[in-house]
């Protein structure tokens, strides 16, 4: 008889992959149902559960491709990127990467970016809370020292950049829309900020400079270096305006003086 480890390996392989050698190695009592049908019950439960989890996190992707296509993609995804945690709240982070390399979805070049946006929305809802930035403390910093500060981006904030108009695609495919409104893919690129406020998760289109600025702060660059990055991405970038805007909307929640090694802005 197999050890518990062998039994669980074979059970897992037979259930997820339909592996016939693994199934044959399992000491399953048959009866009215044979071993294959019994493992089939578990396969249906396991795959059905992941389909539900992924459909809940990626409703727009599902609407764009249809239920049957989505379920097939989900089944492939589960096998290519098995869950590693006991809480499915965090399952699905690789779905965008998977879709980018999934041959049946090759025609839909924007689909992975829609998946990235939906994952950002999903994860923003369960990220840590953070108190607003202490404006008094910031006001007490000497003006010539501001550029050397590092700022913390809200744990729920997510930045999405795409060459496609993903926000429009996302908006016209909400459950309360017909889904038939045309979107011109030539509308151009999107730079988005996903954040969580008192009324829930919100998506906001932000300027390229703001996007580069927040991304640089999130990568622990100093304010001065982040402003340089932003100006390089967008000549219209205005540091004072951007800082006030993103402190006010809680995208930036804290600041600190960095250790010396961070100060060069090298990543």
């Amino acid at each position: 008889m197999p050890s518990l480890l062998e039994l669980q390996r074979n059970f897992s392989t037979a259930t997820l992959f339909g592996d016939s050698a693994a199934l044959a190695a399992l000491p399953i009592v048959g009866g009215d149902l044979d071993a294959s049908a019994r493992i089939g019950v578990y396969r249906n439960n396991v795959l059905g559960n992941y389909r539900k989890v992924l459909a809940a996190a990626f409703p727009v992707v599902r609407r764009l491709v249809g239920g049957a296509f989505f379920d097939a993609a989900a089944a492939h995804f589960v096998r290519a990127h098995p869950s590693t945690r006991g809480d499915v709240n965090r399952y699905g982070g690789d779905f965008a990467v998977f879709l980018a390399g999934y041959p049946p979805a090759r025609e839909l070049a924007y689909l992975p970016d829609v998946a990235r946006l939906e994952w950002a929305i999903d994860q923003a809802a369960i990220a840590a809370d953070a108190a607003p930035l202490d404006l008094q403390a910031l006001a007490s910093v000497a003006p010539d020292a501001l550029g050397d500060l590092c700022f913390l981006v809200h744990p729920a904030a997510r930045l999405i950049g795409s060459p496609f108009p993903v926000l429009r695609i996302w908006q016209v495919n909400q459950a309360d829309r017909s889904g038939d409104e045309p979107v011109d893919l030539g509308e151009g690129a999107d730079t988005l900020l996903v954040s969580r406020g008192a009324s829930g998760v919100a998506i906001e289109r932000i300027a390229r400079g703001d996007h580069a600025f927040l991304a640089a702060l999130d990568a622990s660059l100093t304010l001065g270096n982040a402003a340089d990055r932003a100006a390089a991405a967008d000549p219209d970038f205005d540091l004072g305006v951007a800082l006030r805007r993103h402190v006010a909307n809680h995208a930036i929640v804290a600041f600190h003086t960095p250790s010396r090694t961070n100060r060069t802005g090298a990543q």
């Binding site: 669980q8 399953i28 149902l33 019994r38 396991v46 590693t84 006991g86 709240n89 840590a128 809370d129």
Partner: protein, 279 residues
């Protein structure tokens, strides 16, 4: 509400996302609430804030679906740490897990998978139960699961395995009446034999739920009202163990909250008919 280390002797319901706002706002009369621990393995946000608010009004039971007590591999230390952090925050009246496995070689199937009832599996489950109890510094409630297959290398009956886990580790049992009924039908045993083998003093909670009988075997879907034979077995269960904190569980095709409260009222009638229930 004072911190409770055991559930009140009354009927509770499983609190799921579609009912959170209604429960938080209307605070319907209900003995206690049970949530899936993993749904709150989050860093922050509105779901956790809602549970923080609700726990001021109801005793909370944390019911885990992902610890994988029966894995041949070691317990997932990160998962255990997340449960410990949540329990410290919520101060639940009970913490429970399932007598099953779901994780092997770092891969998680996120389902309640059946164990062979062998000496090897028993020793391993007991080791893991003790590890969780040590980490949480409280007794764990361990729940029997539905199964759609049996292994040829079983060395004992399911009820002997369950009773042995409780005896060896001092853990409490979450006795799921529906799961016993589903297994009795699927595997052909008398559920009263199961009841007779379980040490009454170990049973700290009872679960009731609905199953799906449309396939070739009964499936524990938690997607329907409690079936009449399961109500009968519930009567026999509290006759045998005495009244115990009882939960109505519903996880798929979740109906209006009123349906769950109606099922809870039915359970309470049965409890009261047999025993005086503490207010």
């Amino acid at each position: 509400m004072p911190t409770m280390t055991s559930l009140p002797l009354s009927v509770g319901i499983g609190l799921r996302a579609p009912h959170v706002a209604q429960v938080r706002g209307a605070r319907p009369p209900c003995g206690w609430l049970e949530v899936h621990s993993e749904n709150y393995f989050v860093d922050g946000g509105p779901a956790l804030a809602a549970l923080d608010a609700i726990r001021a009004y109801y005793p909370i039971s944390l019911h885990g679906v992902g610890m994988s007590l029966g894995s041949a591999a070691a317990l997932d230390a990160g998962h255990l740490a997340r449960l410990k952090r949540l329990a410290a925050r919520i101060e639940p009246a009970a913490v429970s897990e399932h007598l099953c496995w779901s994780r092997i070689d770092g891969r998680h199937l996120n389902d309640l998978l059946p164990l062979p009832f062998t000496a090897e599996a028993l020793a391993l489950v007991c080791e893991h139960v003790e590890q969780v109890q040590d980490a949480l510094a409280r007794p764990l409630l361990v729940e029997n699961v539905s199964a759609y297959l049996r292994f040829a290398n079983d060395a004992m009956a399911e009820w002997e395995f369950v009773a042995a886990v409780a005896r060896r580790t001092g853990c409490k049992l979450l006795f799921d009446v529906n799961n016993v009924y589903v297994n009795a039908v699927n595997h052909g045993f008398d559920p009263l034999d199961y009841l007779a083998a379980i040490p009454a003093e170990a049973v700290a909670e009872i679960h009731l739920a609905g199953f799906d009988a449309r396939g070739a075997c009964l499936i524990d879907t938690h997607g329907a009202r409690v079936a009449p034979p399961v109500w009968d077995l519930y009567r026999a269960t509290i006759e045998r163990f005495g009244p115990r904190p009882t939960l109505i569980e519903w996880d798929t095709d979740i109906p209006a909250l009123e349906v769950l409260l109606d099922e809870a009222a039915h359970a309470r009638q049965i409890m009261e008919a047999r025993h005086a229930v503490a207010a």
